[in-house]
Structure formats: structure tokens, C-alpha cells
């Protein structure tokens, strides 16, 4: 059973490599949302990647080397807030496996127990209340597979959107189905990945939404890249970015 | 490489595999709800009817009359039964006043080798007792034997099963334990939950594939 701490004074923020390079606005939005709740946000500059790409490709040694860096960077007893279900899953569920039988094993248990996905943290730790200041809009949600299955945060994420009174959340058909990103899968099996993202884009289009919101930069990159290639005028936005935009005015 | 050598080599590899260290988690079996006698009849009937079984709840005293009535209504011409089986006497008694409109009773008294063509081609319905039933999944339990052979509930296009209401268990697990099946299994223990079916063509359900097309259950109370 997950144990959620009471409202903390300080948290770490793990930016994730994709958010760092491609969606820094979303990162800043997430940090500001936390700061707005009166929390001191610490962003260790030595952080880099959670290691998942190498780990999933069959290179655990290289993944461990990079993971050790994250263990050192986030070493104090603060919750670690991660704006990605996929990276959170890696840090929380796969690090213990990656370091099984390694000297860092106990440190990793403690590290992983402090990991929270962003929406999970907002809903279950901060019990955040959001006031919608934006104009009416119809959006749809796409959650990452690991956010859904490893972190179990789908309902948390959607509940945040549902708090916004002028936002109509239309659910996508086959919401549970993978968008085809899968990290290096998109590159190693491009034909299958393309078929998957094209189906996902079609399902998004059918909702009539003008925006698709996601908690994962990998999925976002994948889906928006495909939508833009097809000339579809639906924008993709990270959950943190969207929430900040709607509640900050 | 013969079977014996293969056996030795396989078992040797398995013994050296370290599989004995496989962690076996503790896990309690979920128990189905325990229903009372009346609920079990209702549930069994509902489950079986949902799978296209025709269910009649009848009086134990005159069930064979119901059976005779069905035989007339359905126009069967040859009905197979086990002459030394548990339902034989009542059936023979019910047939004793044959007004000429009843189907012939055919006894499964010879081995199938002497009887196969007849069994496959001329029998309209086979009637058997059953050992019991399980209510949670809605299935009959049969232990065919020398008196009521296996093919009776398979080859004819209709199978009529005679079940005593007090032989309905909550679940297969309960029945297996209560009757100590582990002490000795029959040649062929069998569960039947309805007429044969397939959904292999675009999930469209069709009944009467290779087993019976109709299953009629008479629950004797």
C-alpha cells in the first residue's frame, strides 16, 4: 500500500531528460505550481536521465551508472516529484530491480520510497484545489502506459482536469492502449510504432477535442509529432503546463 | 533415443535446474458464496438457461411422466438409455403404458463396437442420470460408467440429464473435496454446462456443433 506523507515543506523536482530538452515550459509550470502551494522546490543541477532508455534496451550496466548519479543528486530526505509516469515508474519500481544484489540496494529502497508522480503528489499529498480561470475548452487525456500500470495515476491525473469547471474532458476510446512511443521501440520497430501512433491520433481526433493533455513528455512528443505531420490542428500539452495555464490566469 | 532414455535425461536436467528454489507465494483461494439449497437450484437453472439449456424443475415422484411428455412433444423416435442405470426403472415404468406415440427405448447394452452406426445415426436423444452439479458455474457433473456410457451424452443430438436437487454443490472445489475425488477418479469425469457451441465465426454463437444441439435438464426435487 502506498503511504503518502503529510504536506511537506521541501521537495525535490526530477525534471526528466525529455522535459529538460523539449518541454522546459512544462517543467517550470510544475515547479511554480508546487511553489504556489508554499513548498520549497529543490532542483539538483547534477540530475540527468533516469536511465530507462538504456535499461529497456538491454544495457543495465550503463543504466546503473547513470542511475547512481541520480541517487547521489537526490540524496536528502525529501519527496522526489516526477512529472512523468514513465520516469517515476523507473525510479520507483525498476531501480530496486536494477540494483538488486548491488551494494546500493538499501539506499535504493529508501530513494524509491520517496518517489511520487506529479499528479499523484498534487492529489494525494497536497490535496490541491484548483480554480479554473480559463475560457471553455474541450480536451482529451492520454496517459502513459507506465503512468497507468506502474504508477496507477490515471485517475489522479484526470481528477485534476475535472476540477477545472470550464474544461470538458472527453475520454478517448481505447484509452488504455499504448501510443507506440516505447522509447527506443519507436526507432527499432518504426513501422509498428507508426501504426500505433496513427491509430492513437485518429482516436484523439474522433473526440472532437482541441487539445490532448498528457502526463508524459515521451507520449506527447510522439503524438504531437504525428499530429503535426498529418496537419491536424489539435495541440498537445503537458498536464503541468495545462493546469498552470488554467489556474494562473 | 528411446522413451526411457529421454525420461532419464529430462528428469536429470530438471533435478539439476534449481527449480526447487522457486518461491511459492502464500495465496488464499477466493471462496465462492455459499448458497442454500433453494438458491443453488435457482442459480444452476439460471446459469444453464443462459447457455441455452432447457431446465425443468420437477417432482421426484413423477419426473418420468414429464420426461415422457417431453419425448412426445419433441417428436423423438428413438431414445437411448442405460438399462441398468439409476434412471432406467422409472423410465421403463413410464413407457409401460405406451400408446404407440412414444419413441422406442433403445438400450445401450452392448459395447460401442457393435452399436456405433446406430448410436451415431439413429438415436434422437440420450437420457442419463448425473452425479451432481455445481451452481457457481452452472454445470452438470457426470461420471459415466458401465451402465451409462460416455457417448450417451455426446453422440445423440439431444441429451436429457436427470439431476437430484440435493446433489447440487456450490462449486467444483467443494464437490471434489466433499466427495473425496482424490481417492479415486473414474475413467472420465465430465462437466457439461450446456449444448455444444462455437463462436469461431466472427463471435456469432452457434449451437449444436459436434456434441448435442440440445441439453434438457430435469431437476428432481
Amino acid at each position: 500500500m502506498a503511504v503518502f506523507p503529510a504536506h511537506p515543506r521541501t521537495v525535490y523536482f526530477f525534471g526528466t531528460c525529455l522535459m529538460d530538452m523539449i518541454y522546459p515550459d512544462a517543467g517550470m509550470a510544475a515547479i511554480r505550481m508546487l511553489q504556489r502551494e508554499g513548498i520549497r522546490v529543490v532542483f539538483p543541477p547534477e540530475q540527468s536521465c533516469c536511465g530507462q532508455p538504456a535499461y529497456n534496451s538491454g544495457f543495465p550496466e550503463e543504466a546503473r551508472a547513470v542511475a547512481r548519479r541520480q541517487l547521489r543528486a537526490f540524496s536528502k530526505n525529501y519527496p522526489i516529484v516526477v512529472p512523468s509516469g514513465s520516469c517515476a515508474g523507473m525510479l520507483k519500481h525498476h531501480y530496486p530491480h536494477l540494483f538488486d544484489g548491488q551494494p546500493e540496494s538499501r539506499d535504493v529502497q529508501w530513494f524509491s520510497s520517496r518517489v511520487f508522480e506529479f499528479s499523484e503528489f498534487l492529489v494525494r499529498v497536497l490535496r490541491i484545489r484548483l480554480t479554473d480561470l480559463g475560457p471553455p475548452v474541450r480536451v482529451t487525456w492520454h496517459g502513459s502506459c507506465h503512468g497507468r500500470r506502474e504508477m496507477g495515476v490515471t485517475e489522479d491525473s484526470k481528477s485534476l482536469i475535472r476540477q477545472l469547471k470550464r474544461v470538458e474532458l472527453t475520454e478517448i476510446e481505447r484509452e488504455y492502449e499504448c501510443c507506440g512511443f516505447g522509447g527506443t521501440f519507436a526507432v527499432k520497430q518504426p513501422a509498428i510504432s507508426t501504426a500505433m501512433v496513427q491509430d492513437k491520433v485518429e482516436d484523439i481526433r474522433k473526440t472532437g477535442a482541441s487539445r490532448v493533455i498528457s502526463g508524459d513528455c515521451g507520449c506527447l512528443m510522439n503524438i504531437t509529432g504525428a499530429m503535426e505531420a498529418q496537419g491536424i490542428a489539435i495541440t498537445g500539452q503537458h498536464l503541468a503546463d495545462f493546469l498552470w495555464e488554467r489556474t494562473n490566469g | 533415443m528411446n522413451s526411457q532414455t529421454a525420461r532419464e535425461r529430462i528428469l536429470k536436467r530438471l533435478a539439476a535446474s534449481g527449480t526447487e528454489h522457486t518461491a511459492v507465494p502464500d495465496a488464499d483461494l477466493p471462496q465462492p458464496p455459499s448458497l442454500n439449497a433453494e438458491e443453488r437450484v435457482t442459480r444452476l437453472a439460471a446459469m444453464m438457461e443462459a447457455m441455452r439449456t432447457e431446465v425443468h424443475v420437477v417432482d421426484a415422484a413423477d419426473w418420468a411422466d414429464t420426461f415422457r411428455q417431453l419425448a412426445r412433444e419433441k417428436g423423438w423416435r428413438r431414445v437411448l438409455y442405460g438399462p441398468r442405470g439409476p434412471v432406467a426403472s422409472p423410465i421403463e415404468a413410464a413407457w409401460s403404458a405406451d400408446d404407440g406415440l412414444l419413441p422406442d427405448l433403445v438400450a445401450y447394452s452392448d459395447s460401442v463396437e457393435a452399436f456405433k452406426a446406430d448410436l451415431f445415426e439413429t438415436i434422437d436423444a440420450g437420457v442419463t442420470s448425473v452425479r451432481g452439479a455445481v451452481a457457481d458455474t452452472g454445470a452438470l457433473v457426470l461420471w459415466p460408467d458401465a451402465h451409462e456410457p460416455r457417448l450417451m451424452s455426446l453422440a445423440p443430438p439431444v441429451h436429457v440429464a436427470v439431476l437430484d436437487a440435493d446433489r447440487i454443490f456450490n462449486s467444483l472445489g467443494e464437490m471434489m473435496a466433499a466427495e473425496k475425488w482424490a481417492d479415486g477418479m473414474p475413467t472420465n469425469a465430465l462437466m457439461i454446462s450446456g449444448p455444444s457451441k462455437t463462436a469461431d465465426i466472427e463471435f456469432t454463437l452457434v449451437f449444436g456443433v459436434h456434441g448435442p444441439k440440445e441439453l434438457v435438464v430435469l431437476i428432481r426435487q
Binding site: 530538452m21 530491480h97 502506459c145 501512433v197 | 457417448l151 462455437t198
Partner: protein, 476 residues
């Protein structure tokens, strides 16, 4: 002897993806099976308890496998079932042939058995002039079209109604074209009834073998399984070594998980438990029952504690039903007897990573399979483990053919990635470079693959690291 056909996975994938009818057929079928299973397992708490129980039963069986197989054989033998052992498919085929020859039999009727597909039994028997008539409706259809099964449970799922109608009309003499399922069913029933009647030997698989009592358990809906195991005077059952369970009490939970996961049914029409041939005084049933126990690489899989979990599988096929890759490429593209997620971990282990390792790359690790597996096989973890083995530095790994696909280019990529992520300076440099190129990232390698269907990602002018530094998140 013809050269073995090398299966070109990528080519087959492209072909399948371009086949709109195939994709429509699979989308319809898999969606249907997903919904059925969800409707049946409607109570998540109960489902999790059942899965835990199923996993425990299967783990217990594996933990005592040699002993249980020994016990199974002893009990079967005591009851008159003749037990044979085979290390390879070839040996198993020879055992079947020997039994057939001892009876001078040339006409067999067959219930669905994936192990027999593994053995390529039908082709083997055909080479020896023996007819192996498939009697499961789906298997019957694909036997007419000379195809292999595209799914573990519903072998002809890739075909829709009019395709089946056409097959019947073309391949079964005297059959007019009809799409009415009752009529198609009537044709199959009539054709196969003669075969059951005339069959000299019945062949079947085994869903579960109970060591405690020496009992072979079989599930089915059509009645063909009972026909094959009751009518002919000889019955031969084939099973993989892992299909044994310890006791009768283990049967109901596994049965519930199997029927619920495979077809969304609470129970199949028939559940058959066979313990002996025809006994004294009985009037029907086979006079001889044989059980062939096949290894075919399973004992090697058992030797690795992590990969051993592959053998928990009860062959329900639900991982296929939930897989976003399988639904798009269908079963034949995999080029292996077992497709889908279970196929991705089984095929490389049975055939070697060098031959089938590519299947382990055909997964986004979405986890849908592991989420629904009735016995909780951690399929994504095992796929990842096989990926480790594929790129391992040498062939000392647990799996045959390990280290076979070590790609120097990829190794360098990950070494480079590691360095970039360990050195903040390198990291900053890399990010600055990428952002400077912005839209003009070179379309080579991964970027090239990506941009086939997507606009390339735009690297931000200032990374989050930089923004934080400038705008103030805190450091300590």
C-alpha cells in the same frame, strides 16, 4: 529437402500492417475478447485474489516439477495410461508414429493442441501417409487453407465470415457459398461426424495434468475434444513438461482463470477429466490411452530463476488479446508457433536468440500483457531480460544464442549516452548543440526513423536546467 525458410520479421510486419482487412479483423476480434474478459472478471479484488492463487499453484508445480512428473507417470501407469517421454519434437513425432503403426492406423482425428503445432505433427504424419484431421472449428478452417494458427485459442481469428464462406465453398466438395453461420456449422458437423466415426486414433493436447491422480484435463466448447478422446479405440495425448499441477484441488482456480481469460467464459461447454482407458465392463471409450511428455527446450528455460516464469503459462492467449503490437500485425507475422507477448519470450528461448531474438524488440513494454496474465508472468521484465541477453558481451548467458546480436554501433550509442548523462558539462553541451540545431536535427539513424511519420521534436532554446538556474528553483 528444401532449405528452411528464414522468416523475415520486418518484411512480414510491413505486409501485415498494410493489410487493411487483416487489421480490421483483428481489431474487431481483440476488442471483443477484451470486453468479454472484462465483463466476466468484473470484481477487481476477486480477480487479483484469483490471479495470486493461480500464480501460487503454478509456482508450486514448477518448484516440484521432477517429483510431480514422476508422480503423474506413476499414477497414469497404475490406471492404464501408457506414458512416453520425448526430449525433442522429432522424438515425440516418432513416438506418435510408432503407436499409430502398431495399430496399422492411417486415419486420425485431432483436437486442438498447441504442442502438436510445436511438433509440426500434422506435416510429419502426412509425410508418413497418415491423415490428421483437425476437428476444432478454427483448426478445421486453417487446415483447409494450409495455414498455421494465428492465435493460441482461436486459430482462424484472422479470417472473417465471407473469407470462411469462400474457403468452405472452394475446399469442401458440394458446398455452396453461404455466410450463414448455422449453415457453415452444419457443413463442418456433417464432415467431421464421419471422421469421428471412422477415426482409428484420436489425438489431443492437455490443458492440465494432475499428478495426484494421474488425470488429464481438457476444456472445449464444441464436443470435438470429447469425440477425439472417446470414439476412436486409441487416444494419444501430448503435453509439455510444465503442464502438470500438483493436486485436484488446484484444478478449479486454474480452470476459472483459463476459461475466463481465454474466451471470457465462466466455464466452457465441456470439461473433461480422463484418468484411464476403458475399464472392465465399460462399453465405450478408447482401449488404449497414451500420454507423451515433451521437453523441447523447457528444461533449459527452467534452469534460470527469472526466465523460469515463462513456464507458468497456462496458454490462455489473453496476453495476445491485449497486445497493441499483436492486434496490428496478427499472429503469422511472428513466424513462430506461439505469437504475441508469450511468443516473444518463448520463441527466443526455444529457438535461440540468434534466430528469434528480433521478437524481443517488437514490444513497447507497455505492460498490458503482464497486467492481464492470469498467473502473473512478468512478461515485460522477461522481454527486457532477453534484451540484456541479446546484447550481452558474450554467450555465457542463460539463453541459447546469447550475445548473438551484439551491435557495435548500438553499444557505442549507449556508452555515449552514459557519458553524456554522467557529465553535466557534456550534458549541457549536448543540449546546447541540439537546441542550436532546433528544427534542423540531422535526419539520420533514429531521427530518420522518427521523421517518417512525425515532425521532429524541437529542442528548446533553453533547457529546464538553464531556466531553473536563471529563474529560480533552488539548489542546495
Amino acid at each position: 529437402m528444401a532449405e528452411p525458410i528464414v522468416h523475415d520479421f520486418h518484411a512480414e510486419v510491413e505486409k501485415a500492417l498494410a493489410n487493411r482487412q487483416l487489421r480490421a479483423n483483428f481489431r474487431f476480434a481483440m476488442g471483443n475478447m477484451i470486453e468479454k474478459r472484462k465483463a466476466l472478471f468484473s470484481d477487481p479484488v476477486e480477480l487479483e485474489a484469483l490471479r495470486a492463487a493461480g500464480q501460487a499453484i503454478r509456482q508450486r508445480a514448477l518448484s516440484r516439477l521432477p517429483e510431480l512428473l514422476d508422480q503423474l507417470e506413476a499414477n497414469c501407469t497404475r490406471n492404464g495410461i501408457q506414458v512416453h517421454w520425448a526430449e525433442t519434437s522429432e522424438e515425440a513425432n516418432q513416438e506418435v508414429l510408432a503407436i499409430l503403426k502398431s495399430h496399422g492406423a492411417t486415419r486420425t482425428v485431432k483436437g486442438k493442441s498447441m504442442v502438436s503445432e510445436e511438433m509440426h505433427l500434422n506435416a510429419f504424419l502426412a509425410r508418413h501417409g497418415i491423415e490428421a484431421m483437425e476437428t476444432d472449428f478454427g483448426e478445421f478452417i486453417i487446415q483447409l487453407t494450409c495455414e498455421t494458427p494465428s492465435h493460441i485459442i482461436v486459430p482462424a481469428i484472422h479470417k472473417n465470415r465471407d473469407q470462411i464462406a469462400r474457403v468452405f465453398q472452394q475446399k469442401i466438395p458440394g458446398t455452396p457459398y453461404t455466410e450463414k453461420v448455422e449453415e457453415l456449422n452444419a457443413v463442418a458437423r456433417k464432415t467431421l461426424r464421419t471422421k469421428f466415426f471412422q477415426g482409428e486414433v484420436g489425438l489431443s493436447g492437455v490443458n492440465m495434468a494432475v499428478a495426484e491422480t494421474g488425470t488429464l484435463c481438457l476444456v472445449e466448447n464444441e464436443g470435438n475434444g470429447r469425440m477425439c478422446t472417446t470414439v476412436p479405440p486409441v487416444h494419444i495425448a501430448v503435453m509439455g513438461i510444465e503442464k502438470v499441477v500438483e493436486k485436484l484441488a488446484d484444478v478449479p482456480p486454474i480452470l476459472r482463470l483459463l476459461t475466463g481469460s481465454a474466451t471470457g467464459q465462466l466455464i466452457t461447454t465441456y470439461f473433461n477429466m480422463i484418468t484411464s482407458p476403458r475399464r472392465e465392463g465399460e462399453k465405450d471409450g478408447p482401449r488404449e490411452v497414451h500420454l507423451i511428455i515433451l521437453d523441447n527446450g523447457r528444461s533449459r528455460i527452467l534452469a534460470d530463476p527469472e526466465l523460469r516464469q515463462t513456464l507458468l503459462c497456462i496458454r490462455c492467449g489473453t496476453c495476445l488479446n491485449h497486445c497493441p503490437v499483436y492486434v496490428r500485425i496478427g499472429g503469422h507475422a511472428y513466424g513462430h508457433v506461439y505469437p504475441g507477448p508469450i511468443g516473444k519470450i518463448l520463441a527466443p528461448q526455444m529457438e535461440g536468440l540468434d534466430k528469434a531474438g528480433v521478437l524481443a524488440t517488437a514490444s513497447s513494454l507497455c505492460g498490458a500483457c503482464g497486467e492481464v496474465c492470469p498467473v502473473r508472468i512478468p512478461i515485460p521484465d522477461l522481454i527486457r531480460r532477453l534484451r540484456n541477453e541479446i546484447v550481452a558481451a558474450d554467450d555465457s548467458g542463460a539463453v541459447a544464442g546469447a550475445g548473438g546480436k551484439r551491435d557495435l554501433a548500438e553499444t557505442l550509442v549507449w556508452k555515449g549516452w552514459e557519458l553524456a548523462n554522467l557529465s553535466p558539462a557534456l550534458n549541457r553541451l549536448g543540449t546546447r548543440l541540439a537546441s542550436a540545431m532546433g528544427q534542423r536535427l540531422p535526419r539520420v539513424g533514429p531521427i530518420k526513423q522518427w521523421t517518417r511519420a512525425r515532425r521532429p521534436p524541437v529542442v528548446a532554446r533553453r533547457s529546464l536546467h538553464e531556466r531553473v538556474r536563471r529563474e529560480g528553483g533552488k539548489d542546495e
